[in-house]
């Protein structure tokens, strides 16, 4: 380990991490063609999933109560496609920090989103305004 570091940001590059959104992880000189192919595959998959989402509510092709679940699945899949093909997020060891940060973000988002919905659903159920309660009893 050389100890004379003249650059403020220069360090050993051992265990260097991948940059999110940087070049795709193929290390051996990615050619324009392979990189372009990655973006095109991403575009195609994303377009396909978008079309599937819109189609599944248009045509009533899916069993009614399952539509919401299908939409959520398509949506999550598309987010995955964007992360992999546009942001080049992979599970390689180089990407551990990026993926961990993403996992933390997903955890927080789910806690805030589903937690709020859960809490508010129960509150709305338990705390029906007196007027509405009276209407319910009266009617």
């Amino acid at each position: 380990m050389s100890s004379n570091r003249d650059e403020f940001d220069l360090g050993s590059h051992v265990g260097e991490d991948q940059v999110v959104g940087g070049a795709p992880p193929e290390r051996e000189h990615p050619t324009l063609r392979t990189e372009l192919r990655g973006y095109l595959i991403g575009l195609g998959l994303a377009a396909l999933l978008t079309a599937a989402s819109f189609w599944s509510i248009d045509e009533h092709v899916i069993y009614g109560p399952g539509i919401v679940m299908a939409l959520i699945v398509f949506g999550l899949a598309q987010v995955g496609v964007h992360l992999v093909f546009f942001l080049h997020l992979t599970t390689s060891p180089d990407n551990t920090n990026n993926a961990l940060a993403l996992a933390f973000g997903v955890l927080i988002v789910s806690l805030v989103f589903f937690g709020s919905i859960w809490v508010m659903f129960h509150m709305n159920q338990n705390m029906i305004p007196a007027r509405a309660l009276m209407q319910m009893r009266g009617g």
Partner: protein, 678 residues
């Protein structure tokens, strides 16, 4: 519409003597200080070395100074409240209700956002890069922007003292009371915009420190070799990054309700004010841990150093920290058990809240076991830590009591609750930053604080705290609700008078702290820390001189285990000389100073003030100015400057010489001590 929006002469409180006089006094003091600085010709120095500085140590010191000044402001509010309640038994007291409401709101807001936060962030700024063994944080200019935005928020809150009014509904403006219909004044707007501006600064600090801690460490510093303070700072900043956007979103919703008639939290149009409680506490609970986790880190450093032992259970400490970091996001409903989410929801959040006590208990035991078998030195940082352990254990237990939903139905909104959170915030956060401040002061300034006055300050604070807030538990159990401007229950009176005595003892403690600084500065030549290691410390911040040079380390330290500095020192003491030969010095690139932070904050204040008073043209001007600042900064070509190798060599050689001399001195002392027995 007027050119100045809602701003008229009526905004100045001419008819209320108390705010008018205090406002005028503050203005006079500020003007006097500015005049003194200008007259002495310090302006260029301040501009060059401090205001535009992007050095993490300078920024950290400015954060701590901001926190100190705001502590005085918040503490004056505290004295006013205690005095009011001591007087107001069947009497109006000296504060009319509308003023009393502003006082307790301002007290809470200032103490959390402009005392605790800046103090904790300031200490992280000074110490984290030093402990990591690197030369600065990841984004130095952003760091300066963060600080100045925090200062801008503090300025807006204090401006409300003189121009207009402050929020009257507590440190969290619960709707529907905070909606335009019930609070047409500018108080809530002051609150919201001040917090939005400083919140952006805090968020950027979070991003900056997460990146710094995860990406910039000295070679060899594994995750399991990071000092405990860095781990807790990482957890705290992860929480900032995760929680502050929630605050921003929630306040943005309230502002949309107030400014453009949206219906998020209104009584009309289907709005749901409970959504505000839900969201604000989804931020508010993690916020508590944002403050307390770095304090835990400080205690870990202090206890280990002053017990002359490595921290006991280092790994369990990391697990405990990260467990608290995650669980703190799963307990927010315990702040509104009584709002009616129902038994099952309450039970789950209650249990989660109690579970947090487990990793916290792990920490307490780790500190105790660190002390066990060590040679404990009872210096003032250590006293703060021991005082914390006792105080916090009790505060934590009352917290577990409050986490039991049926008990909370009795205790919520009572003074018992207020006593609980003062117990943990004073007993853990404030004692922690005081411990850290005393411990790291010599690192930041190069001389040690006066120990005698420091111990006075500690005892006065500890006793004062218990005299002030012990009675809070009692009157709380006797049914006193919080925020009472007057009351008619005779049984509370003696306790509230006693609490007034407690706050006066704390006042003596603060006076002791001010005296400590004054005395220490005047006698600084006798208390110089020449070696850079005044406490016989264990982590990398003590490897460099006090105060450290701008570049922190002439050569980045190479970390081979968990306490690299301690091992190096032990080896040096064995062989009686420095372990490392003089390195080959190289010139060092450091980030260049930039006024971006100051200018951005200036435009933020202008925009915030204009928004509060509905001066729309000024809003536009402020936003354009901020964007122009951004572009000018983006256009900058030279963002680094070079410190020549000779300068690096000169500074490092001085430190090496001082350390060699100290080693030699120690050797001599040991030999002379050994002689009689041999």
């Amino acid at each position: 519409m007027s050119l100045l929006g809602k701003l008229t002469w009526q905004a100045i409180p001419f008819q209320e003597p108390l705010p008018l006089f205090s406002g005028v006094a503050v203005v006079i003091i500020v003007v006097a200080v500015v005049a003194w600085v200008v007259a002495k010709g310090y302006v260029p120095y301040l501009w060059r070395e401090w205001i535009t500085s992007v050095d993490h140590k300078r920024i950290g010191i400015m954060y701590c100074m901001l926190a100190g000044v705001m502590l005085l402001r918040g503490f004056i509010d505290a004295i006013m409240m205690r005095t009011q309640q001591a007087m107001a038994y069947n009497a109006p007291g000296f504060l009319p209700p509308s003023h009393f409401d502003q006082v307790f709101s301002a007290h809470g807001t200032i103490m959390i956002f402009f005392v605790a936060m800046p103090f904790v962030i300031g200490l992280m700024n000074v110490i984290v890069p030093l402990q990591l063994g690197v030369r600065d944080v990841a984004f130095p200019t952003l760091n300066s922007v963060s600080f100045w935005l925090t200062a801008a928020g503090a300025l807006l809150v204090n401006l409300s003292l003189v121009v207009g009014e402050f929020d009257k509904m507590g440190w969290l403006p619960y709707p529907p009371l905070s909606e335009l219909r019930y609070s047409p004044g500018v108080g809530v707007d002051y609150y919201c915009w001040a917090l939005q501006i400083s919140g952006v600064g805090t968020l950027m600090t979070g991003i900056n420190f997460v990146t710094t801690i995860l990406k910039l460490r000295a070679p060899g510093m594994h995750y399991t070799r990071m000092p405990m303070f860095c781990w807790t700072a990482l957890a705290s900043n992860l929480l900032i990054v995760a929680a502050f956007p929630v605050l921003t979103a929630t306040l943005a919703m309230l502002l949309l309700d107030r400014y453009v008639g949206f219906h998020f939290f209104t009584n009309t149009g289907g709005g749901n004010s409970m959504m505000f409680m839900n969201l604000i506490w989804a931020w508010g609970h993690p916020e508590v841990y944002i403050l307390v986790l770095p304090a835990f880190g400080i205690y870990s450093e202090v206890v280990s150093t002053f017990s002359n032992k490595p921290l006991f259970g280092y790994r369990s400490m990391i697990y405990a920290t990260m467990a608290i970091c995650i669980i703190s996001f799963m307990v927010w409903l315990h702040h509104f058990f009584t709002m009616g989410a129902g038994a099952d929801v309450n039970a789950i959040f209650g249990i989660a809240s109690m579970i947090i006590a487990v990793p916290t208990g792990v920490k307490i035991f780790n500190w105790l076991f660190t002390m066990y078998g060590g040679t404990v030195r009872f210096s003032s940082p250590m006293l703060w830590s021991i005082g914390f352990m006792v105080t916090f254990a009790i505060g934590g237990m009352t917290g577990v009591l409050l986490a039991v939903p049926p008990a909370d139905f009795q205790l919520h909104n009572s003074v018992f609750l207020v006593a609980h959170f003062h117990n943990v915030i004073i007993g853990a956060v404030l004692f922690g930053v005081f411990a850290g401040y005393t411990y790291w002061f010599p690192k930041a300034f190069g001389f040690v604080l006066d120990e005698r006055l420091g111990k006075w300050a500690f005892w006065l604070w500890l006793i004062g705290f218990w005299v002030a807030w012990g009675p809070g538990y009692v009157v709380g159990l006797e049914g006193m609700t919080r925020r009472l401007q007057h009351y008619d229950v005779a049984a509370w009176r003696p306790w509230l008078v006693l609490a007034e005595g407690g706050v006066l003892i704390i006042l003596l403690g603060i006076i002791a702290q001010i005296a400590q600084i004054v005395v220490s500065i005047r006698t600084r030549e006798q208390r110089r820390d020449l070696t850079g290691d005044p406490w016989d410390g264990r982590n990398l911040e003590w490897i460099t001189s006090s105060p450290p040079p701008a570049f922190n380390f002439a050569v980045l330290p190479n970390v081979t285990d968990q306490e690299p500095y301690w091992d190096m020192k032990a080896r040096a003491r064995e062989i009686g000389q420095l372990t490392r030969p003089e390195p080959q010095y190289q010139p060092i690139h450091m980030p260049r100073n930039s006024p971006t932070g100051f200018v951005t904050a200036f435009f933020a204040v202008v925009t915030g003030f204009a928004l509060i008073w509905h001066i729309w043209w000024l809003v536009l001007l402020g936003l354009v100015g901020a964007y122009a600042t951004f572009v000018v900064f983006a256009w900058r070509d030279h963002d680094e400057e070079l410190i020549p190798a000779e300068e690096v060599a000169r500074l490092d050689r001085a430190n090496r010489a001082a350390r060699s001399a100290a080693l030699h001195h120690r050797q001599l002392r040991r030999e002379t001590r050994r002689e009689p027995s041999e």
